[in-house]
């Protein structure tokens, strides 16, 4: 026992087995059904876009960290998630160089300039998507109907009269790669909820407020819920831990705020889809929500007895 070398570290001496890497891996796993659905509906275009977007994201992160002489942390999986998310949120016909550029922008400007993982105020994938939409508006709305490769309008532009709800649910409609199959998104979302990675408050807040808003506006709520990137955004984008509030009340306000902004844009706005901007806007409000909704502290405001 005399020559025993002991690890002297402060308490706690035991830790939960969950780690950042495991959480990131769970998100990637949850994206699998969506990736599978996108490949089923869009074939090689889906493979091309998702691979290019992921590769570009990981490479950008590594290059950026190398240039800043910081440890390269691409193994934590966070850049890969941003890449896959971005790939899934662009149209299948988007030219390869645009995919690569958008993904690089997402990581460089959306994440690394703020200091990397955990420090970015906005969801990096949405920053990339907003950049692509603003720069290449035409290519970003060149929707292709699945499989037969005939160009088509997104259901949101056509309206509920022409779109069939079952098509929206299973995904055989025109749209961005990962947004078309509500079923695949729900599968991934249920897994993430079960795994304790996402909080139900944010997606429920979004979907609930969209439903209520649609009913008040006299529109079909089911159509609104299943079309566009609403579900995809509610499950995978808005729930990003880094850019959403840390308090329960803050998460309700965050989700409801996103839903309301989406519907304002959809009902009165100039373009059919508002999910990207709604989430980015609420990302900006997140620090304030964190400040306003701090939980009540034990023993605060309790009077000392005489």
């Amino acid at each position: 026992m005399d020559d025993l070398r002991l690890l002297v570290s402060p308490s706690p001496h035991i830790r939960d087995t969950d780690t950042t890497e495991k959480i990131m891996f769970a998100v990637l796993l949850a994206l699998l059904p969506v990736v599978a659905a996108s490949i089923y509906f869009f074939r090689w275009d889906a493979v091309r876009v998702v691979l290019l977007a992921s590769g570009s994201a990981v490479a950008t992160e590594a290059i950026f960290q190398r240039l800043r002489k910081r440890p390269v942390t691409v193994a934590d999986g966070s850049a890969l998630i941003t890449g896959v998310l971005l790939g899934l949120s662009v149209p299948p016909t988007l030219p390869s160089w645009m995919v690569i550029l958008g993904s690089a922008f997402a990581i460089a400007i959306g994440k690394q300039v703020f200091g990397g993982l955990g420090h970015n105020p906005f969801n990096p994938a949405l920053v990339g998507r907003a950049f692509l939409t603003a720069s290449f508006a035409k290519a970003m709305t060149a929707w292709t109907a699945p499989i037969d490769a005939v160009s088509a309008a997104t259901p949101l532009a056509m309206g509920p009269a022409v779109s069939r709800i079952p098509d929206l649910f299973f995904g055989s409609v025109a749209g961005s790669l990962g947004e078309t199959s509500a079923l695949a998104i729900l599968l991934g979302g249920i897994y993430l909820f079960y795994r304790g990675v996402i909080d139900y408050r944010i997606p429920v807040g979004i979907l609930g407020s969209v439903t209520v808003f649609a009913l008040l506006a006299g529109q079909d709520p089911v159509f609104h819920l299943l079309s566009g990137s609403l579900l995809f955004g509610a499950v995978y984008m808005a729930t990003d831990m880094v850019t959403s509030p840390v308090t329960k009340a803050g998460r309700w306000i965050f989700g409801i705020g996103i839903g309301v902004i989406i519907m304002v844009i959809r009902v009165w706005g100039g373009f059919p889809e508002g999910v990207t901007y709604a989430i980015l806007f609420m990302n900006a409000v997140t620090p304030l929500l964190n400040r306003w909704t701090r939980p009540r502290i034990y023993g605060q405001g309790v009077k000392v007895s005489e």
Binding site: S11, I14, G118, G299
Partner: protein, 458 residues
């Protein structure tokens, strides 16, 4: 509706969920690791040949030695005391001869004055003052006896018990903390199973000393045998009851225990007597009983020796001053090489830096953790998963408190109620990025106190 609860025939953890009490926010499920020791009776460990007894084993003023090198001492004889109110005398745990009065290293690495005694193996006791009928002693006599016996909070805090028995405000209820929510530790559990009656007598003495009319023993539901033993022991007393607590960390933290059992909130910066109660530990109550009934001083205690790197984990009745290394040797030694050795529980206990450090009055356990069990800070970036916010039983935002404290922004941390942190460590435990949240927060508290002190001077 009437719930009939029987603990003898089924698992109370499942059956009695409806009546289990808990604190309202935060907390978490952590592994218990209690199965290695909770079914084994307490074993008396023979006294070592030499004991090293620190002159400070409590919060408050250190003791001055009252023996000199070469003196003969008896077991239970006072060897150090202080004239200060917040202090507790120390006693010899063996009979024998004083070898030295000198600075020695404690298990936590700190140096302090110690009395080193060679054990003559005769265990000659000093004659202590016995109180025959506990019901006839006055409150002042109880406090005096507790003080003379050198009793301190044995759950870990080490606060002098006679001070606690003299609350500055009226107190109506005494809580006995039998939650034992720290993993691995089972010394209180075993004591409740084996010495429930003694604990109840100790509880009565505390009630008498403080003027409290009621007593409640709170026990986590994962100790069904302790619950049934204590229920039996309190059955004939109307003023006593058992509260079955949900298994949830940190159920045994003083503020959480008070909230769970009495639904009272200790005000920020306050103490339990601010809400009319005093909380005492199981072992402390038993020590009070022993001091009153047999005049026995606090010179031995039950210590849980456990962890994956211990060959034969169990609870030992150990003399104060026994080197910690001896406890592990008595339990069969180490199984492979331990990664970390801990004093107390793994959530809040300090690391052991010196295995030759002695057992002290408030040492509830020594754990040797294997490589698989032990974990430490790695400080990956915060991904704001909010698990620490959800887990904090005080309603704090540990992510921000930790960050501000670590960056020296003590005033910002203070505004987020830094000082209300109870240091339960659950934030660090749940953090997937393995950030040193509670370590930073402790550093922040110290930094804030230093800043305040500097401002007072200038």
């Amino acid at each position: 509706m009437v719930f009939v609860i029987s603990f003898s025939d089924s698992n109370p953890e499942r059956v009695s969920k409806l009546i289990q009490r808990t604190f309202p926010r935060g907390g978490g499920d952590i592994p218990h690791h209690k199965e290695a020791t909770d079914g084994k009776p307490i074993v008396v460990m023979p006294a070592p040949s030499i004991v090293v007894i620190p002159l400070q084993q409590h919060i408050g003023a250190p003791c001055e030695p009252v023996v000199a090198v070469g003196d003969k001492v008896k077991m239970g004889q006072m060897i150090g005391q202080s004239t200060k109110f917040i202090s507790a005398p120390v006693h010899s745990s063996v009979s024998g001869q004083v070898l030295a009065v000198e600075e020695r290293r404690l298990a936590n690495g700190a140096k302090t004055m110690c009395v080193v005694i060679r054990n003559d193996g005769r265990d000659e006791m000093v004659a202590g003052e016995k109180h025959g009928d506990l019901r006839k002693i006055s409150a002042a006599a109880i406090r005096e006896a507790v003080k003379n016996a050198g009793i301190v909070g044995m759950g870990g805090a080490g606060f002098p018990t006679h001070v606690k028995l003299n609350p500055p405000k009226p107190v109506d209820t005494i809580l006995i903390n039998g939650a034992e929510c720290e993993p691995y530790l089972t010394c209180d559990h075993r004591l409740m199973v084996e010495q429930a009656e003694q604990m109840v007598h100790g509880l009565f003495a505390i009630m008498k000393a403080t003027g409290a009319a009621k007593g409640v023993i709170g026990i986590e539901a994962n100790k069904p045998d302790a619950i049934s033993q204590v229920q039996e022991a309190v059955a004939e007393y109307e003023q006593l009851s058992v509260a079955v607590l949900q298994v949830r960390y940190p159920q045994g933290a003083e503020k959480q225990l008070i909230k769970a059992i009495l639904n009272r909130e200790v005000p920020s910066g306050g103490l339990p007597h601010d809400v009319g109660c005093v909380v005492s530990n199981v072992h402390t109550a038993i020590a009070i009983y022993e001091a009153l009934s047999a005049g026995k001083a606090s010179y031995e205690r039950v210590v849980t020796v456990s962890g994956g790197a211990v060959v034969d984990p169990r609870n030992l009745l150990v003399r104060v001053g026994t080197p910690i290394e001896e406890l592990f040797k008595f339990c069969g030694g180490f199984l492979g090489e331990p990664e970390a050795v801990v004093c107390g529980g793994p959530m809040t206990g300090p690391p052991v830096q010196d295995l030759l450090g002695p057992v002290v009055k408030n040492l509830s356990g020594v754990l040797a953790l294997s490589k698989e069990e032990a974990a430490f800070d790695e400080n990956f970036p915060c991904i704001r998963c909010e698990r620490c916010v959800r887990a904090c039983p005080m309603g704090l935002t540990p992510n921000l408190l930790g960050e501000y404290s670590n960056k020296g922004l003590y005033r910002d941390a203070e505004r987020l109620h830094l000082r209300d942190c109870i240091e339960c460590s659950l934030c660090s435990y749940v953090c997937p990025a393995k950030r040193a949240l509670v370590t930073w927060i402790k550093k922040g508290k110290a930094g804030l106190a230093a800043e305040n002190a500097k401002e007072k001077v200038s």
